[in-house]
């Protein structure tokens, strides 16, 4: 084998080695590479060295130098690569961070209570007192004092759930000291609105008043897409000298924009026995921006709460002088707010407590 052939053979082996070295990524790859070139039995470099007999005697020295230099080159290249592979190897005790983490269970606040807390916070910022009242009431506070005497059409038996036996109602206002109206002594019905607390509060405290009463109310309604026999309401009451319908308007604009974002607010005349004038409050439909769609029955507006100026008969019932003070009151359904805010189209979802529904709300 002449010198030139030897050089050609080494160059071919080198090209092969370099390619395979570049592809090697593990210690096993490198072991295989080492064996393929340097194994005593069948390494390709070993095989080349064994051909020394075919080399002319005067070139054997040079042959040995060339092949051994190549052998050293391979050895150090593999060694170097071993260092590089070792540097990328996972340390002992390494974990696989792509595995699933260990869950930390976390629950959610009910969407109706999210709404409730949000509304509470908005009114708290406006300086309102927040109070809870009893859920079972007597006829006087739920109806009569609210300008709904017996036989008033608005208090149809159909709407009210009555108790089979009178019971003591819950207390309220313990933190305000001795409150004479704090206890419902003989409740005969489930309150049909949180307005009953207007009477209890005004009979206890003098004006001025800024009050919010969140809570459950009950009506004799069948369960369907938009009705439940129990629902959540907010009662609001503002009483003082010179409170006007314009104040009511300003308050709702501020509150509803805080709650729903950039919406327009309008008042429509309506009727409630305990307010005069009475107004339904609408917000512009967010689904269509007010141009009309299925959600808003093509009116561009969504009814959101009922309100009005406190009826003088209500002031008279609690011993306030309607010539001295005026005020406004309102009632807002939390379900309605939650349905609009969260895009819920079936009210029953709020009462099924399906985890697949509840977990859609943020922490």
């Amino acid at each position: 084998m002449p010198d030139t052939e030897v050089r050609t053979a080494i160059d071919a082996l080198r090209a092969d080695f370099r390619a395979r070295l570049a592809a090697a990524t593990t210690d096993r790859d490198l072991d295989a590479l080492d064996a393929a070139f340097l194994s005593r039995k069948n390494g390709s470099v070993t095989a080349l060295l064994k051909q020394v007999g075919t080399v002319p005697p005067d070139e054997r020295r040079e042959f040995g130098r060339l092949v051994n230099a190549f052998k050293t080159e391979i050895e150090s290249a593999i060694e170097e690569k071993r260092g590089a592979v070792a540097a990328t190897r996972r340390p002992a005790g390494a974990i696989d961070p792509t595995l699933g983490s260990r869950p930390i269970p976390i629950g959610r606040i009910h969407p109706l209570m999210r709404v409730r807390q949000e509304v509470e916070d908005i009114f708290a910022r406006m300086g309102y007192e927040i109070l809870e009242g009893p859920e079972v009431e007597d006829d006087y506070h739920n109806f009569e004092a609210l300008n709904m005497p017996p036989d008033h059409p608005a208090r149809d038996m159909q709407d009210t759930l009555y108790l089979g036996v009178p019971i003591a109602g819950g207390t309220w206002g313990a933190h305000r000291g001795r409150v004479p109206e704090a206890q419902v002594r003989a409740a005969t019905l489930l309150r049909t609105h949180t307005s009953a607390m207007q009477i209890r509060y005004m009979k206890t405290f003098p004006p001025p008043i800024r009050l919010i009463v969140p809570g459950r109310v009950y009506r004799r309604d069948q369960l369907d897409l938009s009705h439940t026999p129990m629902f959540q309401q907010f009662e609001g009451l503002v009483v003082g000298r010179g409170i006007t319908l314009a104040d009511l308007k300003g308050t709702f604009e501020a509150m509803l924009r805080d709650l729903f974002g950039d919406v327009r607010v309008r008042l429509r005349p309506s009727f409630f026995p305990y307010t005069e004038p009475s107004a339904e409050v609408d917000i512009s439909c967010q689904s269509c921006g007010g141009s009309g769609c299925g959600t808003c029955k093509h009116t561009g507006w969504l009814e959101i709460l009922g309100s009005g100026m406190v009826h003088p008969a209500v002031f008279e019932a609690v011993g306030y002088d309607p010539d001295e003070v005026t005020g406004f009151a309102f009632g807002m359904g939390m379900e309605r707010v939650a349905m609009l805010k969260y895009g819920v189209d079936d009210i029953r979802l709020f009462y099924e407590n399906d985890l697949r529904f509840l977990e859609q709300f943020p922490l």
């Binding site: 699933g100 108790l163 819950g170 313990a174 409740a187 429509r268 009727f271």
Partner: protein
């Protein structure tokens, strides 16, 4: 109230766009339920008329509102005017008394009764009349019945026609029903009347329930040749009570119970007789008989400028006030500071000055009112601690993996029974269904239903809580928090750290609830009908029982339809029984310990039945005050432990606030502890 647009436009000059009218009127207090196109270019607008406005339950009534809203004139029409505009009307004296006698025995219940007699021939009414009735949702029957319904729609006055030949007398007697008197009403039902009900009778028997429904015994039919027409004003309360008691609601009763207009009765009668003549249904026999023993006068109210501005937040110009109110039919006379306003009798809703101000505001437009903000004149009162308590509980429980549920306040009696003592449930007198028969004595049955709902929907791990009231006869309404937990205690994980929930998980939840409210509690074994024996405990705070915790009895789980046999653990805490929240707001920080603590472990063998709390109490009593903590860290039964015994390992931590404890004094303490355990609890050290 379904109003045909073309009919309305006969009375007022308004745009022919139903949408325009609907939009305008909805800002005047008449929400629109819907608009239907009918025929060619006509429409029916369905207005929602609030309960206080019976005067708008007619085309004429709505027309007055529409005229005011658009600032146009209301066309007043003679009683005989036909839809195409011709006029007519019955003339002449009232019919001879031999034709009809009218007697009102109860003028308080029937202040006015207008009657007339007409000779008729029953046939279908003309198409234009039928079309108008159908547009309003009323089925055409015959020319005579249709005329009464037409007048009802046009003027809002309910009318009734009797067959003259079938009236004994012939006579109309307005009286209360006799005891036990019965009447088959036009709907075919035999009604038993009671003595407070007002009836229209002939000389012998009741022939109609006044203001509610006519009777079959005087019903007009094809054979009818002569009719008696009725146009009356009945006491609203009387009609309402009768209608409610009979469970019978009609177009007539709805109007009478809200308040008809006594002033319209005669006009309506004239209009009906004119229509009968006009459509060729017959002729009036003479004029009308008007009995009006209890005259109802229009109310007169004062209206002060200052009050308008005081309530609305802006002054309304005098001329606007006058113009709007006069269009609505009010009569204004100047008075100091404002006006004296005469209220038309149809406006039963206007009884006080504010009611008049509402009329002004309505037609001035709520949208034109300014937007202001009420000034704060006093410091806001403190927030109800219950509001904060609810928030604290929500934070603590959601952090513990619990989802907040909201369930109904009433449940089925069967579900409630295990949670209340004998006779302690509060029944609902008029429940919607068996499912909502009693007020809940506990939050847990509702939560169990929610657990079952989720379990049936592939949710194995369920943790729910609810805040709310529960009710019992003995204790009334009280606030509570309930928690239920089933499935995993620690969630499933590839590392194998998952495990099913057990008693000590729910016990921790009960403790966490109380801790969140600043109350330390302990649990002791208890018996509850709805908990599994041996898996139930009472929760105590300062010696007061505040709640219960444990594993639900299987029978309860079965009753709620819970699939599978996984145990369900529950806790309920009476929030009203916990000490007031004010105390937990006062925080005083303790200095941090400056000296190291010494820890000693002991293992003892005690009776299995010995409560751990007894062991801890023995240790605390025997140890010096330097013992700051005792906790169990192992409990073992099985190999090497005699049956009925348990090996308990406890860790004791000693620390002093003023020095480093010596080994000797800790050893001394341990010796005393071990001796005490041996003596008091029969413990054997292992």
């Amino acid at each position: 109230m379904r109003i045909l647009l073309s009919w309305l436009r006969e009375l007022v000059d308004i745009p022919d766009s139903a949408e325009d009218v609907a939009r305008t009127m909805s800002t005047r207090g008449f929400a629109v339920e819907g608009i239907e196109t009918v025929g060619t270019g006509d429409a029916v607008i369905d207005f929602e008329v609030t309960a206080n406005r019976p005067d708008c339950l007619s085309v004429g009534g709505m027309a007055r509102e529409v005229a005011t809203a658009y600032g146009v004139k209301l066309r007043t029409r003679g009683p005989g005017a036909s839809p195409s505009g011709s006029r007519g009307g019955p003339k002449g004296p009232a019919p001879r008394s031999s034709a009809l006698q009218i007697t009102i025995e109860n003028p308080d219940l029937c202040p006015r009764y207008v009657g007339a007699v007409a000779d008729v021939e029953l046939r279908p009414s003309p198409t234009w009349m039928q079309t108008r009735l159908e547009a309003a949702g009323i089925r055409p029957i015959s020319n005579i019945v249709d005329v009464t319904n037409y007048v009802l729609l046009e003027l809002g006055q309910p009318m009734h026609a009797f067959d003259h030949a079938r009236l004994a007398g012939p006579e109309i007697r307005v009286r209360t029903a006799r005891p036990g008197e019965t009447l088959r009403t036009l709907d075919g039902q035999l009604r038993t009347l009671s003595p407070e009900m007002l009836v229209i009778a002939d000389a012998e028997r009741a022939t109609a329930v006044a203001g509610v429904m006519g009777g079959g015994n005087s019903e007009v039919s094809a054979a009818t040749k002569t009719i008696v027409l009725e146009s009356a004003y009945f006491n609203p309360l009387s009609v309402r009570r009768t209608s409610k008691k009979l469970g019978l609601k009609t177009e007539a009763s709805v109007r009478f119970e809200r308040g008809a207009d006594p002033a319209t009765a005669v006009n309506a009668m004239r209009r009906a007789l004119a229509l009968i003549e006009m459509i060729g249904a017959g002729r009036a026999r003479g004029g009308v008989i008007d009995r009006y023993p209890a005259r109802i006068k229009p109310g007169v109210l004062r209206l002060r400028r200052e009050k308008i501005a005081g309530l609305l937040g802006t002054a309304i110009p005098d001329r606007d006030v006058r113009r709007m109110l006069e269009r609505l039919g009010f009569t204004l006379a100047p008075a100091p500071g404002g006006w004296r306003v005469a209220v038309p009798t149809r406006r039963v809703d206007v009884r006080r000055e504010v009611d008049v101000i509402e009329e002004v505001a309505r037609h001035y437009g709520f949208d034109r009112l300014p937007t202001t903000f009420p000034a704060l004149t006093t410091a806001p009162p403190p927030v109800d601690p219950r509001i904060q308590r609810a928030r604290d509980l929500r934070s603590a429980l959601t952090a513990a993996g619990f989802f907040e549920a909201v369930t109904f306040g009433f449940i089925a009696e069967r579900a409630a029974a295990p949670f209340a003592g004998e006779g302690d449930l509060v029944p609902i007198a008029n429940p919607l269904s068996e499912l909502f028969a009693v007020l809940r004595p506990s939050l847990l049955p509702g939560l169990m239903d929610a657990v079952a709902h989720n379990r049936r929907r592939e949710q194995r791990d369920v943790r729910l809580f609810e805040l709310g009231a529960r009710f019992m006869r003995s204790t009334g309404e009280r606030q509570a928090v309930g928690c239920v937990w089933t499935g995993a205690g620690a969630p499933e994980h590839w590392s194998g750290s998952g495990r099913p929930v057990d008693f000590f998980d729910i016990q921790a939840v009960a403790e966490r609830v109380c801790q969140a409210l600043g109350v330390e509690v302990h649990t002791t074994p208890a018996d509850e009908r709805w908990l599994m024996p041996g898996r139930a405990a009472a929760v105590f705070a300062n010696g007061t029982r505040v709640g219960v915790v444990g594993q639900l009895a299987e029978s309860i789980a079965d009753d709620h339809g819970l699939p599978g046999n996984d145990p369900v653990y529950a806790a309920e805490i009476d929030l009203d029984a916990l000490p007031p929240a004010a105390a937990r707001r006062a925080v005083r920080v303790e200095p941090l310990p400056r000296f190291p603590s010494v820890v000693r472990d002991i293992s003892i063998l005690v009776d299995e039945a010995l409560p751990a709390t007894d062991v801890r109490a023995t240790i605390r009593d025997a140890a010096p005050p330097t013992l700051v903590r005792v906790s169990e860290f192992d409990r073992y039964q099985g190999k090497g432990i005699p049956p009925d015994k348990v090996s308990l390992s406890l860790r004791l931590t000693f620390r002093s606030s003023d020095r480093t404890l010596t080994d000797a004094e800790v050893q001394d303490a341990m010796t005393r502890v071990i001796a005490a355990l041996k003596e008091k609890n029969g413990a054997v050290q292992r």
